[in-house]
Symmetry: C2
Subunit: 187 residues, 2 copies
DNA sequence: GGCTAAACGCAAACTCATTGCGTTTAGTGC
DNA sequence: GCACTAAACGCAATGAGTTTGCGTTTAGCC
């Protein structure tokens, strides 16, 4: 469960923001594996017990921060055609997720996540982006697959390889998945 | 890295077996989240320092045990036809992996795994099983997709949903994936 | 403005992780 | 077989991280 809906204003909000900022800063300074709760607490100007009470443990905190970082910050670009839109989106998705930091965020999001809501949020982000691309194509009069199909045929293979097979992942592979789900053999 | 190739005989082997057994027993008794290195060490009749020196930390130990548990213990069944073989394999795969304990094992295998070799091993297990099924079908004269295609079209979507979308996962979905990769609309 | 419960800080007590050192033992060569 | 070497282990001390009780602050709400 995300810890956002607890006393959204005032001190609680300041503490949450300070802790999240501390996690991001320290992760880039000392590395993600060197993070500890007392370290984050000192940087955020809080006591460790505050973090333990609100987030439970370090993994749940990192999971919260990871989901925040995995949220797309821009709408998918419009390149005039469905194939171009999907190919560009898949390429960007791959770039962000397959990088070492991206993998760390995915692992963290999957980890401290007892009920699976954080992981589900990541999936919802991708589905939302794909929904924009596909409805735009439908507005152009194109015959489009539905979001579920693209999730199964493009997102899932990319994520599976990111997590289980770090090799053989490149832009051509992503393009091929897009071409296949659109029923083409090439762009 | 798996810690199997260290002094395969005598005391070292006994310690390794005792520790692995202790992990499995305690995981089913007190739950996976309640496992600690000292707890496992006491059950196994060893000292915590032994575990720390050999496995590094709890996550790497759990990752080792998880990979061992995720290894298929039987060859995929022969049902006389490719669709039946693949459908049965996918259903069993789903049953084992989507259960709470299966999810825990997957998470553990992905986790304490700095170089990704344990996760890669899990993927290799699935590919190996699929290779048996597909080559058997080829021996019958069937026109079969290759292993990579089945990994992308069946295994990846199943695993993606197991990890990111715990809902909407059932045998009919697995059967549909198999039917689609075989170019059919049904069995 | 006052009330209530959540959120926080402080500090003690506890568990876990780490490491040096001596002992046991598996593997190897004679 | 017997000695030798280095890996593996046990023990114990040390340091770091985690948990919890209690008093204080404060956000949300009459």
């Amino acid at each position: 469960m995300s810890r956002q809906m607890v006393r959204p204003g005032g001190r609680s909000a300041r503490v949450q923001a300070a802790v999240h900022t501390a996690v991001r800063e320290l992760a880039s300074e000392v590395g993600r594996d060197a993070l500890t709760v007392p370290l984050v607490a000192r940087r955020a100007g809080v006591t460790p017990s505050t973090i333990y009470r609100r987030w439970g443990d370090l993994q749940e905190l990192l999971s919260d921060v990871a989901v925040e970082r995995l949220r797309p910050d821009t709408a998918p670009g419009d390149h005039g055609a469905l194939y171009a839109d999907l190919a560009a989106w898949a390429e960007q998705f791959l770039d962000e997720m397959a990088s070492p930091t991206g993998r760390s965020y995915i692992r963290d999001a999957l980890l401290g996540d007892p009920d699976g809501s954080n992981a589900g949020q990541c999936s919802a982000y991708a589905a939302e982006q794909l929904g924009i691309v596909l409805s735009r194509a439908a507005g152009r009069g194109d015959d489009t697959p539905d979001v579920e199909t693209v999730m199964d045929r493009v997102v899932a293979p990319l994520m599976y390889r990111i997590l289980f097979r770090p090799d053989g992942l490149d832009a051509p592979y992503a393009h091929r998945l897009v071409a296949e789900v659109l029923g083409r053999t090439g762009p």
